[in-house]
Amino acid sequence: MFCDDGLSQHFQIRGKDFSRAGRVSTTIKEILQEVGIDPIIIRRAAIACYEAEMNVVMYAQRADLILNLTPDEMTIRIEDEGPGIEDIDKAMQEGFSTATDEMREMGFGAGMGLPNINRNADTFWIGSILGKGTVLIITFNLKQAGRT
């Protein structure tokens, strides 16, 4: 939905739906290309979004993803209904993973997801309640130049 001061769009991600996994991120990438965002920022946002989407598909039942774009900033908020994360500090460490063999066969589950989101984002916030779900808020500064 376009409005005067930006764009806001809502997507739903279904857990365990491996055949559709990644479609939301691909769609968001297409939207950002249409809007004319800097390709370097698009790539960083697409990677962060895809990692987050795969986490939902692998671990949660479902999630709502909200993309908010203003001239200055892009925010991607993902709120899932899932098991939650027991130890966020551990989950943020590269290589720490609770993935199953099925997830690894998909090429994921190496414990790189959250660190890679953090690496690509300008700001990254994560909160989780065990047994309820996890919220990620990822932002990108659209006025910033020079990052690759």
């Binding site: 691909t26 790539r43 895809y50 990692e51 998909m106 090429g107």
Partner: protein, 121 residues
């Protein structure tokens, strides 16, 4: 080098997007682990992999890879081919194993992606 030259070096079969054979490829990266590709891949690379599900194509699209080469005679599933056609990502398949395929391309002058940077970028 062009994708057409890569096809010749590896005696590879073209799976889709013939119009991309003249694309210039300046670096390549090989992995079956899409987590690593997302973390360390660079835009414009040739993604070499043995992972045949559609996530391999989706990952290539997300990181702005120019083309995909499947090793060990593998080919992507139907969903992967459809996505590659939609995104215009050429796909090659070679019978060489990963190590040999990488070696042949490296020997021919195609470098790998840069080393993992300790600053996390």
């Amino acid at each position: 080098m062009t994708l057409r030259e890569i096809q010749k070096i590896l005696d590879a079969e073209l799976i889709c997007c013939e119009e991309g054979l003249d694309l210039e490829i300046t670096a390549a990266g090989g992995s079956d682990l899409m987590s690593d590709v997302l973390a360390f891949g660079q835009p414009g690379i040739l993604l070499m992999t043995g992972l045949t599900n559609s996530q391999s194509v989706r990952t290539a699209d997300i990181i702005d890879a120019k083309a995909i080469l499947y090793v060990r005679g593998k080919k992507p599933d139907e969903g992967g081919i459809a996505l590659a056609k939609d995104k215009g990502i050429p796909i090659l398949s070679t019978k060489h194993m990963m190590y040999a395929a990488c070696g042949l391309l490296f020997q021919a002058g195609l470098p790998g992606v840069g080393r993992h940077r300790d600053d996390g970028r």
